[in-house]
């Protein structure tokens, strides 16, 4: 068991960094997946994704990240394919882990192989803890006191401190803030500056956006800035947090996008079947991640725009 923190809780350095690197200048940040990843992600970075792979997840960015083979990454690991692709490609060496599994389809064979063979360092957290750690960074404070995880063995793996609250004597876990080198979020729509809107639940998009030094947004739709200004209350991520905006229709495939399209169940079943073995996993990566060079090529590979149109007719509608 280890006690070092993988991600940084240094909010003093974060303030300095934000002042020097973020801009309120309204400038267009539209670019391709390739450009966004190569410009803003570096070997050794500590990164995080939102939401998770079957739900509103920036999968076109994840696939490009794997293609570019950024190495020695630290990952805020709540997720499914988005984390498993990186693990299977051998790009991750440390991980703050809350849940990696496939819900209705069960355990992750990839996580099992990688962890059981000791190929990655891990620390355990709850989902609430992960979101609150981002929230602390978003607040600009070095830790946040909470009542989850008290008494659990997770505290032996993750380096979080427990103390008695000086006001009431209640025990609390002091969750360290976590500042991400790069955050990735997929949204329903954004303007070219990066002002972004999400329909449905917001997961932990707000917290992750504010806790990231670099933030890459992918969006189903790029809208006119006037559309943003007409409904400013709908902006969940303001442009000055955003470094890159990538137009990625069906960017959450094989996951879903609330009100737009359902998850691709047949593809997920095939994926689950393939990742049962190491060979099958590498074959999946070859065919669906390394093979297609762009998001458009990926869409063609998985069945084309016709299939996307069918998926858009399935799923929950308003």
């Amino acid at each position: 068991m280890q006690h070092e923190l993988f991600g940084s809780p240094d909010v003093e350095a974060f303030r300095q960094w934000l002042r020097e690197n973020k801009s309120f200048e309204l400038k267009e940040k539209l670019m391709s997946e390739q450009e966004a990843i190569s410009r803003f992600v570096h070997d050794g970075d500590y990164i995080g994704f939102e939401l998770y792979a079957t739900v509103r997840c920036p999968m076109s960015l994840v696939r490009e990240l794997v293609r570019q083979g950024k190495r020695n990454l630290g990952v805020l690991g709540q997720g499914l394919q988005e984390v498993d692709f990186l693990l299977a490609a051998g790009l991750v060496n440390r991980m703050d882990l809350t849940y990696v599994g496939y819900e209705v389809y069960g355990l992750s064979p990839i996580l099992r192989r990688v962890v059981e063979q000791g190929r990655v360092k891990t620390a355990e957290w709850s989902n609430g803890a992960i979101a609150w750690r981002l929230k602390a960074a978003a607040m600009g404070v070095p830790f946040i006191p909470v009542r989850s995880m008290l008494g659990s063995d997770m505290l032996k793996t993750n380096g979080a401190h427990v103390m008695k609250d000086p006001y009431t004597g209640t025990q609390v876990v002091l969750l360290p803030a976590i500042v991400l080198d790069v955050g990735f979020i997929h949204v329903h729509r954004a303007d070219p500056y990066g002002n972004a809107q999400i329909d449905g639940i917001s997961g932990f998009a707000v917290e992750l956006a504010r806790a990231s030094k670099r933030l890459i947004i992918s969006a189903e739709e790029i809208v006119d800035p006037e559309e943003i200004r007409r409904y400013p209350e709908r902006t969940v991520i303001p442009y000055f947090l955003v470094d890159a905006v990538v137009h990625a229709p069906f960017g959450s495939h094989p996951g879903e996008m609330a009100y737009l399209y359902d998850r691709d169940e047949p593809h997920l079943r095939m994926y689950m079947e393939m990742i049962r073995t190491e060979e099958g996993t590498q074959q999946y990566l070859e065919e669906y991640v390394y093979g297609p060079k762009t998001h458009e090529e990926y869409i063609e590979k998985v069945g084309g725009w016709g299939r996307m149109k069918v998926l858009s007719k399935l799923g929950v509608k308003r």
């Binding site: 068991m1 939401l51 998770y52 079957t54 739900v55 709540q78 882990l97 849940y99 990696v100 599994g101 819900e103 209705v104 355990l107 996580l111 962890v115 059981e116 000791g118 355990e124 709850s126 989902n127 609430g128 803890a129 979101a131 609150w132 009542r147 989850s148 995880m149 008290l150 008494g151 659990s152 063995d153 997770m154 032996k156 793996t157 427990v162 209640t170 025990q171 609390v172 449905g200 639940i201 917001s202 997961g203 932990f204 998009a205 707000v206 917290e207 879903e256 609330a258 998850r263 691709d264 047949p266 084309g304 725009w305 016709g306 299939r307 149109k309 069918v310 998926l311 007719k313 399935l314």
Partner: protein, 310 residues
Amino acid sequence: MKPEYSPTELLIVLAARLFEDNTSAFIGTGIPMLAASLARKLYTPNLVPIFEFGGVGSQLRHLPRAVGEARTFDRAVWAAGICDIMETAQRGLVEYGFLGAAQIDPYGNLNTTVIGSYDRPKVRLPGSGGGNDVGSLCWRTVILMKHEVKRFVERVDFLTTVGYYRGGDTRYTEAGLPRGSGPFRVVTNLAVLGFDDETKRMKLLALNPGVTVDEVVKNTGFELLIPDEVGENPPPTEEELRVLREEIDPEGFYLTTTEGRILDIVTCTATDSQPLTVAVHRNRRGEIVAVLACDRADTPAACQALCPNL
């Protein structure tokens, strides 16, 4: 004739009977989703399901397959975020939480992290997810388990979610978790169990149909409190099973007792000689039982007309 049912169906039905109307319940992935859906249809129509990534008050018209998907906030009253939900539970506003686990000990402590040692696990499990938050912050947690010696253990390999910790008041006095909260019931394929008021050790409450006390004891890896009076759980009714199979999981995501309606996406050459992409339901034998949608027509009937031999 008594209806036949699977162990999974029995678990779902027993769990569904535990909800109270007009309360909130934290619903995790899997069986709790089916139980909450069944409860809302038959017993507690005003039960408010809460999903960790932000869905509050979904009408649960379609069974969720994931805790963050749109079905968890379908016609809901609130589409929030994970901090909103966890903080609502931390303030004490969520009554019930439903959890599963790989291991449970006599005090309701749970393991969902590893089997074996943490550094060299024999089996790496998914991890806490929202489980620890639910078990720490809800008032009453209901734990759904397969009843086996290897799962009901004296000591869990890894303590992911604290139950009554080391017994008595230690959940509050030592671990520091909210006073008055903790495990409420353990529902298994053999029985429904609770916890002793004083010692907080697990005790048998009621047996499932056809199960003996001996069987429960034999499948429990620690000493179980057996009261003089042990109740009996009524078996699933025909109505419960019908609603479960026909209305809640006709697709067969969790139940294997139905014909199944498994989504597939196929292409065919349409009557206009152009390709058509079509979403269909197949049964477990692979036969197409319904056409749902296609890329070049608006209704299932129009899709079918374009590819009549589907």
